[in-house]
Amino acid sequence: MIKGGFKGNLLRVNLTTKEVKSEALNEEWAQKYLGGRGYGTRLLLEEIDPKVDPLSEENKVIFATGPLDGTLAPSSGRTMVITKGPLNGAIACSNAGGHFGPALKHAGYDMIVVEGKSAEPVYIWINKGKVEIRSAKEIWGKLADESDELIRGQTHPLAETMTIGPAGEKLSRISSVMFNGHRASGRTGVGAAVGSKNLKGIAVRGNEDTTVADPEAFMKAIYKARDILSKDAFAGQGAAMLGTAMLVNVINGVGAFPTHNAQDAYFPEANKISGETLREKNLIRNEGCAECPIACGRVTVVKSGPYKGSIGGGPEYESVWSFGAMCGVSDLDAVISANHLCDKYGIDTISMGSTVACAMELYEKGYMPKEDAPFELRFGSGEAMLKAVELACKQEGDFGKLLAQGSYRLAEHYGHPELSMSAKKQEFPAYDPRAIKGMGLEYATSNRGACHVRGYGTAVEVLGDADQYAYEGKAAIIKTLQDLTAALDSSGICLFTTFGLSANELAEMVSTATGFSIDAQEFMKIGERIWNIEKLFNLKAGFTRKDDTLPPRILSEPIKTGPSKGHVEDLGKMLDEYYQLRGWNKDSVPTDEKLKALEVQILK
């Protein structure tokens, strides 16, 4: 019996048949997987064949909240988008902040399962439990933020929205889903999964309460958590003051800041694109997602020069890096403009910047015919970087269309897939695995493809006590962080809370909200269970051990300059140990004993 946290209802919308129905949440699943990422993955495993084409009618897209969404728990505005990922065909779960998740709870639902495919563009309007599928013919083609405004105009000014931009409509495999017009579920190409269903957006508004099982204990737990966070050096001080871009100087300072398509890992001009410079020159104000005491979000404007007037959310640390150092660009105004443009078109900034960097290397090395690019595509040119981003966003010409499919497909097209800085075809973010060893293991083993938010090793390896260059102990650190993050992603709050909070505090919040008896150990077990069912999804989709790897450059080309000069990454040292710790065999397949211990053996 669900006592709190959850609303207990799931909304199913079939866009082929236009059938809409409300279903009771499966309580056993809620106990075993919580909400969000865990529950969504379990449901997807049940309902689709992992082999289906991600852009086909058979794929489903799940928008899921966790039991802490819609409460006063810190940073509890996450909405998870779970689907088979268009970028690589692996299990995808991409999440964003904002206010959509809590609004969905207030409307009476824990999650929405979108099935089938509409013949015409539509959007879904969920108003106090009532659901309509409305024509989006006049909104199709509009930018994500314009769509947000138009949909609110047609529904309710205070509705919270999910929209896709033109990139998702045109099935870019690096397209994102935008919430409130400016908060991105950026990774894995979830925008294309939504676009393939002819779904332009969802608006939601509700008037119901969200309740928790033990209000008094819950409030005690969350005030404790908020207090810890406010005192944390990163979450309470640094990120609040400088945004996530505070990391630019920190990560570059330890020689782990990939530059020029990871040909190096140190950027001498880093300070020109740092969080400090961003604050001084471009910041208008800080923005916080629902109930967030950190408020790492930035609202920025370009004040002068050719990009004058560009205004929007971000850029995050990763975007500063991808459009900046990765492309050799030190012009912060160009970086910010590229970020704003990507948000409007609904495209992933990490993959986009990295794809442009890959194109620059292909161009400079003469691996692509120079006439394929409509301009000189040289490292260091902010103008060229921005032009390339614009081409990809608008999918102009063959080259623009190619760029919009990500670096792997681009590099493969020109016969040099090794120049794509990706794992499982997804571009890795702003931490060089040669310099932060555990991050390499994290990228390689991440179920959704290279990614930094499936267990943020950097928190321990750079911001914490571990030695960034050591291999020993890293497999255990990464496994622990992966499990912790999987459970956290299923609770509805933001990964950044883990800078201050441990499994103890997280379990306390979740158990007092739901009434489930979950202590720190059980919380970690939930996370491990989720990690394993994601792995089972991928195995069924055809992924094997050979996919758990990194670009050859990372494994063989030493870093040229900076504090981490001379380092390469040796994944082999950590990978076998990691599989062993996971209770998987050498081919990365979970053993029967492990699955039995996690009570998921039926899913094999």
């Binding site: 819609g70 207030h106 008037n207 309460d209 309740t211 104000r285 916080g288």
Partner: protein, 162 residues
Amino acid sequence: MKVLMLDQAKCTGCRACEYACSFEHTGKFNPLDSRIKVNEFWEDLTFVPSVCLQCERAYCEEVCPTSALTKNPETGVVELNKEKCIGCKQCIVACPWGSIKLDHTGKEVIKCDNCGGDPACIKVCYPGALSYEEVEDITNVKVQETATRLKEIAKDLVKGGA
């Protein structure tokens, strides 16, 4: 006497104040039951909190036919006596700010009571957009911020004159 002070420039739009307010008054989380509201202008990415200003000449009090609303001379709070309220909604019509409202059921009038002197919204406002201050100090923060900016100009002026 203390009053709730709002600073739009510092609001990050997280709405934690709404949840804290709702919980304080109902034990549940529902922004519609919050006495404080964060207004969001997504097109400009701007956030403006609003709450009852406890007017000196309170129209809600003047228009209330049953004297359910009365201004407490000691605390300055316009207090709502639920027992006397007949739900006629005249106070809502009369309020120039939209700061007195109906709860999520659409039946019960609710308004800010400063939580009896210990506002819950303040406790969760980490950016400091909300504060609870003595009336005498109410404008001091803003005056000082302006003065700090003027000080820099003044320093330059001195340099120029010397």
